[in-house]
């Protein structure tokens, strides 16, 4: 099966080409089922490759490279289109194709009736292809190909309803903000190539120890700039909340489960560089991650749009993953990436189901009491809520706990920030669950304003949409099993499974916990549980029991005004500066050109007067010339 790695991205690519050519003929829903089948087949191949790789020893599975053809061979640069099948890329492929096919299936129901139904699946398959190229690339440039591919698909899909001005703007914003990060990624490649003469991960990572610390630090930090763009970290996170303009399956697939984790993947992929870099490099990453986690969580507390809450929550959870990367806990980062993919995809799809059932209402203030009308959506959403809030034994608890443990070992301050974030996460997610599924039904308030639409009572979603919810809910419950901590009451061979699976990729640079942290792990887990319970209780008292007024300051609802400040700078001074340059181009540079043009014609006009046609004037001029020449010979050259 290992030789079939190429099939993993090739199947969605086939889907893309087929839907591109015959999408309109296949129509709604067949083109959707076809696209789903392609990704599902890709998942099947991935599972086959996974078992093949599993059967190998640790040494043997450190990296199987499959070369397709030479892509850019020039001078010293040799870039192959080649795939790297190792535990890390396979882990990514498994959840990209697995969750990807579930979301494809869900979208068949969600997008039903949309006039551009087949086009949606065209983009979705292209996205799956690009994402798989990203994770399977055996060198930085193939990853970059996928990296730009997913960015482009994200642009298409955010702006899918492009007649809407806000959707079009959000798509453009996502692309351009990501390009800032891409600049960092490109710089990292330039430096890496300059330092080791190759872009292959094996060479770049293998050469990490041999290059100067400055070089490895520079490559790692430039990669992190790229990661900040793609994975929506401070200060480049701005595009992700706006990306919610896209259809909800897109938010689930691209802006929660897969694409936005690409930055984390990249950092784990280059972990030897991070290990060789100056110690401040991982610290910067940990600080940015922790700061983003807390920052986004505070904003999520005051959002009323059901998807915006989840968007800020995604940013916050990605911050956790970078906190893990910066703390040297690569396994924990990947662990959280996987569990997050389960429960966040679940939450987004649940939100989509709610929006679908509510006839495109997204404001939680007009929801409430939906659990009776949408029972399956409600139950699965509640599972997702418990998972993200960190309630044991749901998946999110285990992965978040492991990150906090390593953060504690890195710095108590980072740990404290992570803990506060955990509390806020439990709080805002509880708030959301209560506002949507419990309390009084408020959807009539919104409908009274435009009640001409007939019966707008919310309804449960069709089976294609509900099935993925159930599967993801199951995964969100048991997801923690892949990496259980080594606590005395857990059977030893059930613990640290992900860690031993990923060992060939990350082991050498994975941070070793100090014994004190290790001994504290049980207590830290209890503290984390206490935090989750505190957050849930607080939200329960405020939103269900109305014991206190909600704390939702406008400042938080506006995301601390950061987005507005950036827009103001871009639209104000930024635009003026651009206008200034355009003005200078038209008036100074081109002005000089036109100026010298008129100078010449002006001078010519003066000189023309000399050519008067008057013979006496010519004769006078000639005589003057002769006299001057004679003078020059006589005086100047001393002829006499």
């Amino acid at each position: 099966m290992l030789d079939l790695v190429w099939l993993i991205p090739a199947l969605p690519l086939t889907g893309f080409l087929v839907v591109l050519l015959f999408g309109r003929k296949l129509g709604d829903p067949r083109s959707g089922y076809f696209a789903t089948a392609m990704v599902a087949l890709s998942f099947a191949v991935t599972v086959g490759v996974y078992f093949d790789l599993m059967s190998l020893t640790t040494e043997e599975r450190s990296g199987h490279v499959q070369r397709l053809f030479s892509w850019i061979p020039s001078g010293a640069l040799h870039v192959d289109l080649a795939f790297l099948a190792d535990p890390l890329s396979l882990t990514m492929c498994l959840f990209v194709t697995g969750i990807g096919s579930l979301i494809h299936l869900y979208a068949v129901g969600y997008m039903h009736g949309d006039p551009r139904f087949s086009k949606f699946f065209l983009y979705l398959n292209l996205f799956a292809f690009s994402m798989l190229m990203l994770v399977l690339g055996s060198n930085m440039l193939v990853t970059f190909l996928g990296w730009e591919g997913v960015g482009t698909c994200s642009y298409f899909l955010i702006a899918f309803w492009h007649e809407k001005e806000s959707a079009a703007t959000a798509g453009k914003k996502a692309f351009i903000t990501n390009r800032v990060g891409d600049w960092g990624f490109m710089m990292a490649m330039f430096i890496a190539f300059w330092a080791v003469g190759s872009l292959d991960y094996s060479v770049v990572n293998g050469g990490a120890a041999g290059m100067s610390t400055t070089t490895s630090t520079a490559i790692a930090l430039f990669c992190f700039v790229g990661a900040c763009g793609k994975s929506a970290q401070l200060p480049l996170y701005l595009w992700l909340p706006d990306a919610m303009e896209g259809p909800t399956p897109v938010s689930a697939l691209i802006h929660a489960a897969t694409m936005v984790t690409a930055g984390v993947y990249l950092m784990v992929r280059i972990n030897p560089l991070l290990g060789a870099a100056d110690s401040y490099a991982p610290t910067i990453i940990a600080i940015v991650g922790a700061a983003t986690a807390l920052f986004a969580a505070t904003i999520a507390v005051a959002q009323n749009d059901i998807k915006k809450v989840l968007a800020y929550s995604t940013i916050s959870q990605l911050g956790y993953m970078f906190l893990a990367v910066g703390s040297g806990a690569y396994v924990a980062a990947i662990f959280h990436m996987v569990t997050h993919a389960f429960f966040k995809a679940l939450l987004f799809l649940g939100a989509g189901s709610v929006i679908h059932g509510m006839h495109h209402q997204q404001d939680m203030r007009f929801m409430g009491a939906l659990r009776k009308l949408m029972p399956i959506t409600a139950i699965t959403f509640i599972v997702g809520w418990l998972a993200i809030a960190g309630v044991p034994p749901f998946a999110g608890f285990w992965s978040k706990d492991e990150i906090l443990l390593f953060a504690y070992d890195k710095s108590p301050i980072l740990y404290a920030v992570g803990l506060v974030t955990a509390l806020l996460t439990a709080y805002y997610m509880t708030r959301q669950v209560i506002m949507v599924f419990f309390g009084k039904a408020r959807w009539h308030d919104a409908h009274e304003e435009h009640s001409a639409h007939g019966d707008l009572t919310p309804h449960e979603s069709p089976p294609t949409m509900v099935l993925p919810l159930v599967v993801l809910a199951g995964l969100s419950i048991v997801g923690g099993l892949i990496q259980l901590p080594s606590w005395s009451w857990i059977p030893h061979d059930l613990t640290h499974r992900l860690e031993s699976w990923l060992e060939p990729v990350v082991h050498a640079h994975e941070h070793e916990l100090t014994t004190s942290a290790h001994d504290l792990s049980g207590i830290l887990a209890l503290v984390a549980i206490a935090c989750a319970v505190a957050g849930i209780t607080a939200a329960f008292l405020i939103y269900a029991k109305h014991k206190a007024k909600p704390i939702e300051p406008q400042l938080l609802a506006d995301g601390w005004g950061y987005d507005r400040a950036v827009s103001w700078v871009m639209g104000g001074p930024g635009r003026q500066a651009f206008d200034g340059i355009a003005w200078a181009d038209a008036n100074i540079i081109d002005g000089a050109v036109n100026g010298s043009g008129s100078l010449v014609s002006g001078a010519a006009r003066q000189f023309r007067k000399v050519q008067s046609g008057n013979v006496r004037n010519y004769a006078a001029a000639i005589s003057a010339g002769v006299v001057l020449l004679l003078l020059w010979f006589v005086v100047g050259r001393g002829l006499l």
Binding site: I72, G75, L145, G149, G210, I581
Partner: protein, 515 residues
């Protein structure tokens, strides 16, 4: 080599075609069109023949043909083609028939149409000649011939301000050429061949001449100014937006796709090749102007209100990348630059075609007057999108390959400039996506709601270009294999005639170190 004079035919076929079209009776419009199309298709066929017969590993000039012309001055009809010029010739050969058959000149009468086609063919002859001349004098003749048809094409078939634009184009280029003419004559006289005779032969001069540093620099700048205007390099670029915008669509396509490349090609083939020492010495200047041009062109493009001017300014930025790579003088960067000539020709050429189609439908190029076209013409929008992504430099399409090679290849010799120039990729996304949003997104208003979808005839004009855009992006190897040997030889030539040494490529470190 006394084989079939294929290169001579590349020049003569369109030239004869131009003469025949000019002489043909205007009462036989079909005859005129068939002659024009036939000679351009034949030239295109010859160029493809050259492409397939081209020997891949050979760095030197192929298909050479040399005949004495003005013997006392050592001027000869000396043609040859190598990896650096090969694809420019092919691009010229492919684009001209497409433009001639696919783009309506909007001539007022048959006589007008006849003149248009005749000028087009003469233009093709001049461009072809410029790319394959190996004699300085001959090159100059072709380089100047190009001006005349282009001047008349802009002035005769252009838009509102065509006369201003045509004059500006002509004068700008003439001033540059004046410097080059002086440079060419001085070079020929100073660099007498072994036997003490004056020669204009490029290869002889380049092999024998090691000019004194100051002389070489003066001569280099005489050449460089002419080429910098043609490229155009910042700050000599302001003729370009006017010429591009005012030219008829066919003229804009040719101008962007091949005429500008006479500048970048000239810098490489004549400027740097003849005066390596001076070129190496002046690199910081060119790096800086190229980098400033990348950012300046992109920023100016962002603020344009006319869609055609957006594309025109984007050329300033794109050509900046090529100049940067050319002067970086590493194999990867120069190869990338040579390749980017072609890539830019394809994507910008296609963009001009598309803008021309918008103008035909709406009679405006003002961004503010266009809206929501994607809703009414999704296929048109899709084609525009692919071409735009190629221009932005999204991997998988052609634009990325050249741009990336330029940047990664230049990093070794122009690190800080590359760091700044790479930011140009952000701006490229900004100006194109913003323009795209305003033109294609949103709900179409009254004026735009009947915008016609792409027609078959239009699609057949764009399809070959899109095919090349995708193919080159996915599999550039055949192209790189043909360009690179000549570039390597070129850089070795520079190394031999200056103190420049290409930084040794870092050996891939394969051993995994400890720790």
């Amino acid at each position: 080599m006394t084989e079939f004079p294929i290169l001579t035919l590349l020049v003569l076929t369109p030239a004869i075609g131009a003469a025949l079209v000019a002489l043909a009776s205007k009462r036989h419009p079909d005859l005129v069109k068939i002659t024009a199309l036939g000679s351009s298709v034949l030239t295109g066929g010859f160029s493809l023949w050259v492409l397939f017969a081209f020997e891949k590993g050979n760095a030197g000039f192929q298909f050479t043909s040399q005949h004495a012309w003005i013997r006392p001055w050592g001027i000869s009809w000396h043609l040859g083609i190598d990896g650096i010029s090969l694809f420019l010739v092919v691009l010229t050969g492919i684009l001209f028939p497409l433009v001639i058959v696919g783009i309506d000149s909007h001539s007022k009468s048959m006589a007008d149409q006849k003149r248009y086609l005749s000028w087009m063919l003469l233009l093709e002859a001049g461009v072809m000649g410029s790319f394959i001349s190996l004699d300085l004098f001959l090159f100059f003749v072709f380089f100047e011939i190009v001006l005349v048809p282009m001047y008349f094409l802009i002035g005769g078939w252009g838009y509102e301000k065509r006369v201003y634009a045509a004059t500006k184009f002509f004068l700008f280029t003439m001033v540059g050429s004046a410097f080059m003419l002086v440079g060419i004559i001085a070079t020929a006289i100073l660099a007498k061949a072994d036997d003490g005779r004056v020669t204009f032969d490029l290869i002889k001069i380049a092999e024998n001449a090691d000019f004194a540093a100051s002389t070489g620099r003066w001569l280099f700048f005489a050449f460089a100014i002419a080429f910098a205007v043609k490229v155009p390099l910042f700050p000599l670029h302001t003729w370009l937006p006017d010429a591009h915008t005012q030219a008829p669509t066919g003229g804009s396509v040719i101008l962007a796709a091949v005429l500008l490349k006479m500048g970048t090609y000239g810098l490489l083939r004549f400027g740097i090749y003849l005066f390596p020492e001076a070129a190496v010495w002046s690199r910081p200047l060119f790096f800086t102007l190229a980098t400033v041009g990348i950012l300046w062109g992109a920023i100016a493009a962002t603020m344009q209100k006319d869609l055609k001017r957006v594309v025109a300014y984007s050329s300033v930025a794109h050509l900046g990348f090529i100049v940067l790579g050319t002067f970086a003088l590493t194999t990867t960067a120069v190869t990338g630059g040579v390749m980017q000539n072609i890539n830019h020709g394809l994507s910008t050429g296609a963009l001009f075609i598309l803008v021309g189609m918008i103008y035909e439908r709406r009679h405006t190029r003002q961004i503010a007057e266009l809206k929501g076209l994607q809703k009414v013409a999704p296929i048109f929008a899709g084609v525009f999108m692919i071409v735009m992504l190629s221009s932005i430099g999204v991997p998988g399409l052609n634009g990325f390959v050249g741009e990336f090679m330029v940047l990664i290849g230049s990093f070794a010799t122009a690190r800080w400039w590359v760091t700044v120039a790479a930011a140009g990729v952000i701006l490229a996304a900004l100006y194109l996506l913003w323009a795209y949003q305003r033109v294609f997104h949103g709900e179409p208003d009254e004026a735009n709601k009947d915008f016609a979808e792409l027609k078959w005839k239009e699609a057949s004009l764009l399809l070959p270009i899109i095919g090349l855009i995708v193919f080159t992006g996915v599999y550039p190897k055949p192209m790189l294999d043909r360009i690179e040997p000549s570039v390597k030889a070129f850089i070795e030539h520079v190394e031999q005639h200056s103190d420049y040494q290409q930084p040794a490529p870092s050996e891939p470190v394969l051993e995994v170190g400890e720790g």
